[in-house]
Amino acid sequence: MTIHILNGFVYGGLLYILSVGLVLIFGLRRVVNFAHGGLFMVGAYVGYAVALHAGFFTGLAAAIAVLAAIGILLDIGVFRPLQRHDPLLTVLVTFGILLILEDLVRSIWGKDYVTVSVPALLSGNVEFLGLQYPVYRLMVIALALVTMAGLTLWLKRSAIGLHVRASSVDAVTTAMQGVNTDRVSATVVGIGAALAGMSGVVAGPLLTLSPSMGSYILVDCFIVVVVGGLGSFTGAFLAAMAIGQIHNFGIVYLPWAASSIPFLIMIGVLIWRPQGLAGGAST
């Protein structure tokens, strides 16, 4: 039992790190970023490829850096020029980018599944809550908590965090105060993409790598964002943990329904509380 709950938190933690980037980007750009799954997948492959030569942690650092750069380019090259157009157009473009990224990865690394092993430093088990539990999995939960704490501190305490919160609700008034909101957007999309890349690398040893892994997890990610309330950070955390639990218990006890339960929850939330569980409350 405990082990299933812990596994649920591992998947939930992964989903949180991925979804919170989506929430950040949506909050600022009002863009539903389908490319986010692609960023996750590219992060996983960049981490894998670098890790082959330089080890897991160098791979992690490289993926974060590469994805941050891709995110900044995405904001400057796609979101900024399209900001005055129909949001549907931007959604379609991000969907196109997802497909392009999948093709690109397929042509470089092939379409076969790739497995990544747990880094030596974090291999093995440790005694936790009365059972032997993989160190790596515990570290994933810890990383999700650290990410949440770090983002909260950054948003609440730093000057840029203040500018991010302000421009999420009123970009024009924020800019009038002398804030370069274009730069704020590029920073935020860069951070969101870097988080997607980080979760991709971290997912490597847990899931198998394939070019379609991004579109696959993106579905759960959207469910998290809708259930948590678009633009809500706390909501995203709670929803990710809940979806992680449901995902895991579903696989164990109701394998035939495992993939549809999250959808049913999302539909229920959309009917009963369309603003999301934590929506309406700020951040």
Binding site: A159, T173, A175, Q177, G178, N180
Partner: protein, 231 residues
């Protein structure tokens, strides 16, 4: 040197021309009024400085430097802070955070959060409340405080008396006169002629996107001015 100068400026929203050859100037420490009826283009003067309305002809200078296509954040860095019509307090930020947002330019000067609290003590009492939990008059003070946090040379206020009780407007007169004596230039966009008279020394009257009258206030009767804004 002038702090702000419009010369034959034409400004547009899309293809709609709103300002049709406006010229005006504000020098250091000057206090001017911009008057006119609803919809004549008063806010568009501020929006042109901010690059929200697009300038397609004429010349705009801020702090003596020509601005061909100002971006929203340029004016604040160049020493012009704008208190927008409707105040536009950021609801998800506290009173203190709304003030801190105004310090984004890091322009040096006397204004700090503490100095703003001394000017408007009610803001100190409400520091940790959401900015939009304040009354209309308090939100106007917050909007002025936020603009001052950039330590501007010129403070532009767009209809600050709108929706406020006369006693609150009297307080605003006091505050603006104190700022004026301290050397901050003021451009007061208003329809409340009594308020304008108590603050400014020179005025422009806008009608249909053009300056139709201007001059010094002394010697001009209240009635003559009111004729420009009454319907």
């Amino acid at each position: 040197m002038t702090l702000l100068s419009f010369r034959d400026v034409a400004s547009y929203y899309g293809s709609a021309r709103i300002l049709d050859g406006v010229s005006l100037e504000v020098g250091p420490g000057e206090r001017i009024g911009v008057l006119g009826r609803n919809g004549v283009g008063k806010t568009t003067v501020a929006n042109t400085i901010l690059g929200i309305a697009t300038m397609k002809a004429g010349r705009l200078e801020i702090g003596g430097r020509e601005m061909k296509a100002p971006r929203h954040f340029d004016a604040a860095h160049a020493g012009i802070s704008i208190v927008p019509q409707g105040r536009r307090i950021i609801p998800v930020l506290t009173v203190r955070e709304n003030l801190q947002l105004g310090a984004a330019t890091r322009r040096p000067g006397p204004w700090t959060v503490e100095a703003i609290y001394d000017l408007f003590p009610i803001l100190r009492e409400r520091a940790d409340r959401p900015g939009t939990a304040l009354s209309g008059g308090q939100q106007q003070m917050l909007a002025i405080g936020r603009a001052l946090m950039a330590n501007p040379d010129l403070l532009v206020l767009d209809e600050p008396s709108e929706g406020l009780a006369p006693v609150i407007v009297d307080q605003l007169v006091d505050v603006l006169n104190r700022l004026g004596r301290a050397g901050t230039a003021i451009m007061l966009i208003e329809q409340n002629i009594g308020f304008v008279r108590d603050v400014v020394e020179r005025y422009y009257v806008l009608s249909k996107g053009r300056v139709v009258d201007q001059g010094r206030l002394d010697g001009v009767s209240l009635e003559a001015l009111k004729a420009h804004v009454s319907v």
